[in-house]
């Protein structure tokens, strides 16, 4: 039962991410989502008893709940831009689009994984909708930071889907992915900082001038 509670927590925080209008709100929501994901992984670890899952869960907590949000917040403070995220679609319509994406994820889940009326495989359904909503955030928000967070959210979703379908990816794959993510965020953060230094804004829309 508590796995379902944590999965609901992930879904609720993902919807809250969609209505966020400020960068710090988005980063906090990402940290909360990663925290619920940590709780899910911990429950899976307790249920199966493998040591790998415990280590993965702790790494998840350290990296995605503590380190990456702290790093991103430092970037935001250093570049000193306005906190506004620049939405292309207003939050209310975004929520309805997110619900439509969730419904599409549900249809996909029903078709490819046999479900008999009960949302049994709810982990896969939640993970797919989280991944789709992460992509939504990437596409429909202006600031570069939103793209980073969207990427992180997609990775969260894919991690959860791997955990649900196969009981966790091979241990070394997971560690490698974690390191990749961490480096990715550092590099992207530096990029954002440099972009801001040169162009004094991180509006990805305006970067379309960078054509040949």
């Amino acid at each position: 039962m508590h796995i379902d509670l944590f999965l609901f927590g992930i879904m609720a925080v993902t919807f809250a991410m969609v209505i966020a209008k400020r960068m710090s709100a988005l980063i906090n929501a990402f940290a909360a989502q990663s925290f619920f994901l940590f709780l899910v992984t911990l429950s899976l670890a307790v249920r199966s008893g493998h040591l790998d899952l415990y280590i993965v869960a702790v790494l998840l907590f350290l990296l995605k709940v503590l380190l990456i949000p702290y790093f991103l917040k430092r970037v935001v403070k250093k570049i000193k831009v306005k906190e506004d995220l620049g939405l292309f679609i207003n939050p209310a319509v975004s929520v309805f689009l997110a619900m439509a994406l969730t419904y599409m994820a549900y249809l996909f889940t029903v078709k490819f994984i046999s479900i008999q009326g009960k949302i049994e495989n709810s982990e896969f359904f939640v993970s797919l909708s989280v991944a789709l909503i992460g992509m939504f955030i990437m596409v429909f928000r202006q600031k570069a930071l939103a793209q980073i967070i969207g990427l992180m959210v997609m990775e969260n979703g894919l991690f959860l889907s791997a955990a649900s379908v196969s009981g966790g990816m091979p241990f070394f794959v997971e560690i490698a992915i974690f390191f990749d993510i961490f480096l990715c965020v550092i590099i992207l953060g530096m990029f954002v900082y440099r972009i801001n230094r040169i162009f004094t804004h991180i509006d990805v829309d305006k970067l379309t001038e960078l054509k040949g």
Binding site: N90, A92, V93, G117
Partner: protein, 624 residues
């Protein structure tokens, strides 16, 4: 079906072999009762309304047309023969056209009439095609023959007939996107005609759907019910959103009719869904809920239109932005409008609340009984119904508040007289009917179950949706209950207790009558009151993605630095008119312009046409 009589079996019209017979089964009787119940006060109202507005001969013409209109509507719901049905339907539309353009001097009336007659004719064309397809399979125009032939029709023919009938009757009912004639025709007609049109005439479309689709054709497929439910949900929301933006009282009431027809269709669609899902109890219950809302809407919408007519007659304007304070000069009209507004806003314990509660219960019980995706679909439909209920309440707070409360917003329109005696009696009659239909809910549901059983051809002998004579209990007494007399009694008792406590406790303090609180500004005038446009501004902004509002401003300057006055106009984009109808109308005109080239006006060309046709005929006969 307790009684089902057919009368007047004569009049064989030659080779067409038409039997003119009237059918009085519970469905027809129900609609007949609704028609007469609303026509009587409207006719009485017209006595006082038309006096002094038109010359004597025109009043006589108005009476003749009114009687003919009522008779044609009565014919529509009782004939048993499809051809006579079509004749009655056409005559109903034609007579109402003449009634809509009764004010022949007003250009707006004429234009409204044109839009109305064109759209109605298109709808009738759809119905005619559908009935002709029926005739091909049934062999005669008799409706009993239709029912026998319906099971023999192939599936795609049944789907086609369903779509045609839905389009045809949907035009008359005012379902989005076929609704655009409603906000033009209903405001321009004289008020008693508006009340008849909005209260009764658009309900004959529901009769048509029930008679021809549910009763005769049977529910062929699940997507029929889904389509009706989706169209109903869209109509609800679109109707109430446009109603919120209006400042003309009667146009607001017309859009609100679109919304309420959507609610009735929600009940009808849910019933069709449950019929296909083999849940007969729920099907009957849902249809009863929809029909209950039909009765309620007929009553309170007529009441609202009659009150709006009284306001228009005695102040000369329908624009809410210029009215105000009429509760002091027209107290009876205001009280009647308040009853109507409370009823339509689904405020407990009046009749709008009862029918909305029943519809919500129908959706709830369907959601419990249905499987999988339909649970969520029905729950979302119920959420849409709740949203429109809330928006409708806002709409009527605005309508009542702006027209009747506070101070008059324009000097020209203050000091109106109250309505004359016949108008007052008719409004009071309808207001009393509101309370009757609210408190006699249990008895009315019992009658409606009989009507729904007749319409859906389900045996309702064992169905019981009431606990006793005062309480409704849809789940056969074990689940939720609703007792409007008890609720009204509780509220009244509490008001009396509160008032008694109040007057006992405040005997020593006094009441001072002074100005409205003005923060020390000292010069509050009617210009600082809230206007109707301002009241609906939050809705305009929140639903801006649909309403697409735009403003136009104009500054009138005395010099570069001094602006003498500032004009600010807010418009919203009517998307159905602009993106569907205007392109279609333009396409028709473009095609017509091209066809015009066939008529150059020269006699030689016309003679050449005749010559070519004769030559072609000779060749054709030679070949075949």
């Amino acid at each position: 079906m307790l009684f089902r009589t057919e009368i007047f079996e004569d009049k064989h019209m030659g080779y067409l072999n038409i039997k003119f017979s009237l059918l009085f089964d519970p469905l027809s009787l129900f609609f007949l009762v609704v028609i007469l119940l609303v026509s009587a006060p409207s006719a009485l109202y017209s006595v006082g309304y038309m006096k002094g507005e038109y010359p004597g001969r025109k009043i006589a013409l108005g009476w003749a047309l009114l009687i003919a209109f009522i008779v044609s509507m009565a014919l529509v719901v009782t004939v048993n023969n499809a051809l006579i049905f079509l004749i009655a339907w056409e005559s109903m539309s034609l007579i109402s056209y003449f009634l809509v353009t009764f004010d022949t001097h007003s250009e707006k009336s004429v234009r409204a009439g044109v839009i109305y007659i064109v759209m109605t004719h298109i709808g009738t064309a759809f119905i005619t095609i559908a009935l002709l397809i029926f005739h091909k399979y049934a062999g005669s125009f008799d409706m009993n023959a239709f029912k026998a032939a319906a099971s023999g029709m192939p599936l795609n023919i049944r789907n086609t007939v369903f779509i045609l009938l839905l389009a045809g009757f949907g035009t008359k009912a005012g379902i989005v996107p076929l609704h655009i004639w409603l906000p033009y025709a209903h405001p321009q007609a004289p008020s008693h005609i508006s009340s008849l049109m909005s209260g009764v005439m658009i309900k004959t479309a529901i009769y048509g759907i029930l008679r021809f689709i549910v009763f005769t054709l049977g529910v062929g497929d699940l997507w029929w019910a889904n389509l009706i439910l989706v169209l109903a949900m869209v109509s609800c929301l679109v109707g109430v959103m446009y109603a919120l933006m209006e400042r003309d009282i009667k146009k607001l009431l017309a859009y609100s009719s679109v919304e309420n027809m959507g609610i009735i269709f929600l009940g009808v669609g849910a019933s069709m869904l449950f019929m296909k899902m083999e849940m007969p109890v729920l099907a009957v219950f849902a249809l009863s809920a929809g029909l209950y809302h039909l009765v309620n809407h007929a009553i309170f919408k007529s009441l609202l239109f009659l009150c709006a007519g009284a306001v228009y007659k005695y102040t000369g304007t329908r624009n809410m932005e210029k009215l105000g304070g009429l509760i002091k000069s027209m107290p009876w009209t205001a009280a009647a409008f308040l009853v109507g507004a409370m009823a339509i806003s689904a405020v407990a314990p009046l009749n709008g609340f009862v029918s909305e509660w029943l519809t919500l219960q129908a959706f709830f019980m369907g959601a419990v009984a249905a499987a999988g995706g339909y649970k969520i679909f029905l729950a979302c439909a119920a959420a849409v119904l709740a949203l429109t209920g809330g928006l409708a309440a806002s709409c009527f707070v605005k309508a009542f508040g702006m027209t009747f409360l506070a101070m008059p917003r324009s000097v020209k329109y203050e000091g109106a007289k109250d309505a004359s005696l016949t108008m007052k009696i008719s409004m009071a009659f309808l207001a009393i009917l509101v309370f009757v239909s609210a408190f006699a809910a249990a008895a009315i549901i019992k009658a409606l179950v009989m009507v729904s059983g007749c319409a859906t051809r389900i045996n309702t002998a064992h169905m019981n949706f009431t606990l006793n004579n005062f309480t409704l209990a849809p789940q056969n007494g074990s689940g939720a209950c609703l007792s409007t007399p008890a609720a009204a009694l509780a509220i009244t008792v509490l008001v009396i207790i509160a008032a008694a406590a109040f007057y006992l406790g405040t005997r020593k303090s006094k009441t001072v009558i002074d100005r409205t609180w003005d923060c020390g500004y000292y010069k509050l005038s009617p210009r600082t009151e809230y206007s109707a446009t301002a009241f609906s501004k939050p809705f305009r902004i929140a639903f801006g993605f649909f309403l697409l509002p735009y403003t136009r401003t104009e500054k009138i300057r005395e010099s570069f630095y001094h602006i003498k006055s500032f004009k600010y106009e807010v418009f919203f984009t009517p998307i159905f008119k602009r993106y569907i109808y205007e392109p279609a109308i333009n396409a028709v005109f473009v095609i017509a312009r091209h066809i015009k080239k066939l008529q150059p006006g020269s006699i030689h060309v016309y003679l050449a046409y005749i010559f070519v046709t004769i030559l072609a005929l000779i060749i054709f006969i030679n070949r075949f």
